[in-house]
Symmetry: C2
Subunit: 430 residues, 2 copies
Amino acid sequence: MNTLSSQPYKGARDYYPEGKRVQNYIFSVWHKVSKSFGYEEYGAPTLEPIEVYAAKSGQELVNEQTYTFTDRGGRQVAIRPEMTPSISRMVAAHRQELAYPARLYSIANFMRYERPQRGREREFWQLNVDIFGSDGVGAEAEVIILSDSIMREFGAKSSDYVIKINNRKLINFMMAQYLGLDAPQAQLMVKLFDRKDKISDKDFVDQATEIFGDWAEIGLKKVEALLGAKTMADLPAEIRDSSSVREVQELFTLLERAGIKNLTFDITLMRGLDYYTGMVFEVYDTHPENNRSLFGGGRYDGLVSAFGVEPISAVGVAPGGTTMENFLSVHELLPKLLSTTDVYVATLGDTAKEATKLAHELRSKGINVELDLSDRKLDKQLKNVLKKAIPYMIFVGEDEVKAGKYALKDVINSKDFKLDFAGIVDQILG
Amino acid sequence: MNTLSSQPYKGARDYYPEGKRVQNYIFSVWHKVSKSFGYEEYGAPTLEPIEVYAAKSGQELVNEQTYTFTDRGGRQVAIRPEMTPSISRMVAAHRQELAYPARLYSIANFMRYERPQRGREREFWQLNVDIFGSDGVGAEAEVIILSDSIMREFGAKSSDYVIKINNRKLINFMMAQYLGLDAPQAQLMVKLFDRKDKISDKDFVDQATEIFGDWAEIGLKKVEALLGAKTMADLPAEIRDSSSVREVQELFTLLERAGIKNLTFDITLMRGLDYYTGMVFEVYDTHPENNRSLFGGGRYDGLVSAFGVEPISAVGVAPGGTTMENFLSVHELLPKLLSTTDVYVATLGDTAKEATKLAHELRSKGINVELDLSDRKLDKQLKNVLKKAIPYMIFVGEDEVKAGKYALKDVINSKDFKLDFAGIVDQILG
């Protein structure tokens, strides 16, 4: 038989206990904050029909990045590249049974065929938080406050990140009314705005000129006025008075009332996905070594109705696991994480029966116990305990059994105790 | 645009909050018991190269049940149909870095293209618990005691299930030495034993006769003697004295010492997968309406070395989520599960600002709060709370704000309170 490779699939990660501890820490904060806002967990299938994404997610995602194949029953399916279409489908299917607003969250894995690089994997984990059936800007406010609470729960300061906000309706108004572009031109211009930070100023002007055609001279001046606006007050008067700007202002008021000050209005913020219909936002890392978008979200009122039911409004956000891990790492916010095992019980001599009994009794007190019956040398056992980052170790020798007192080692603080059963339980749980 | 179907992929499940609560309850017991035995969590990729399964998992699984496809880079991959090959690959890759015995567990989803039926889904969730680097029968004992602890933690009585045990080495000895079969005949006979409960006695005899060929008469008598053995003591003497029977006896002693009495030796227990090399076992439901195998496991010492490293011994077990749910359901062991949201805060009149503040303060005490600012009629709001199974509800009216005391409703027990902030916190957390 040929030897098989022991490497994981390209762009996917093997999570050994050490790496899994970090992921579980991130997940635990996500669970905690999502639940604290009254969101309830759900789960969705790994596979969806490919049409679900073709509808509204955008061409690049579907044609270049999805893992698509035909199943043994001839169905064209994709491994989910994102959650929004799945949860929209689920809401559509139970439209009558759900109580609104429906607050739902999940933590799940996704796959996209992209070139793996820092913070981007082919298989990645995401939290998805969505509220369905709430039309007012209060829904956006709640989802952004929840996003901010996640950052705070991780220990981030408001100077560590900034929340950028824009509005798709405002973008549409800008493109059609202010810049006078038709639909195909507007689509190109949105994509150009989206790429602005990734291309040179000259390339930007050249491509904008091409989109405007005959209107280039006046058009470029207007674009310049738009891009110069650092706050809503700087916007050209015709835009400043539009209803969508008023909506953004209302959102700012709600967020500032909740104590969020690291907010900025960003007219170039587009968000890649086609399904957004209103407010869009992004949490952006301000660290010089990780100056990038961390995660984002927005309103997508038209997606549920693609599944053949009456429209249900929706706002969502989706932080990613690896991006979050990178953020915590550059800002030195990752706590030191130990094993979930509390204590390692080792035998000294012929005490297997007694050690097994002790392990059983400790477990009944809610203590996680690894039991080693190998009777190996103590230094080897201690090395194992350190490798596994287990905080305590107990030696069960014949003398200890007779005395009813055991040697307990606090491995982290290098302290040794001689304690009876109750004392051990207190020391470990205390 | 055509309307998209709102149905999930065939054989996969949409987990709405109610269903997810049940799944989370099952997962929480799995996490708790696995951790209590010192197993640490890991995670593995969704995709693996198809060869990983072709090596040792068995022809049916690979040729008929895997979700295989070619990725955009030309790699032949499969959505994992089981975890054992993935974790064996991971152990091989970090052979030097791991501390042995390595105790590892995961809760993950898998896909197999099978006909969906009760307790069998195309996408399913499983706990995988594995110990690597432990040769003695103590490893099997630990994994079986852990399995039994899971059943106990769910509230099962020992009369609700039985643990069946057999040994692949004993099977091999039986087939070669006792029945005198060559390797291809032995393989057919193992498959026939495995199917025994699913076919008629006549079919069994016919097929056995065909396998034996010239030896049929004497062979059938020997098979009869084997199948008549309800305990190890009943086995024909030549088998009873083999080293593999002694091993099984040793395992029984360890399990009985741990208080497990619902054990049975079952010479027809084969376990479908090709990679088992020693002890195999199955937890079997004794309920008349669900008389079936719940889950099983065994020793597979040859799998890690398929990845090009020195052999590392391994014993594992893998309970499934839906099978477990069915078990809990027929035995009426599923607890009544409420929402993870503790309290629903509703406004009465123009109190949005105060209700928001109250929600924020309750969250800071660790209480999960759903905040509704819609100012809808109370009966509608209460209906929502009941639908979502949220245990408490608070009404924030203008009088309540002035008095600093709020109306708190215990929805489950239909009790009403008038409490200040501290009182509310005590009532909900207490």
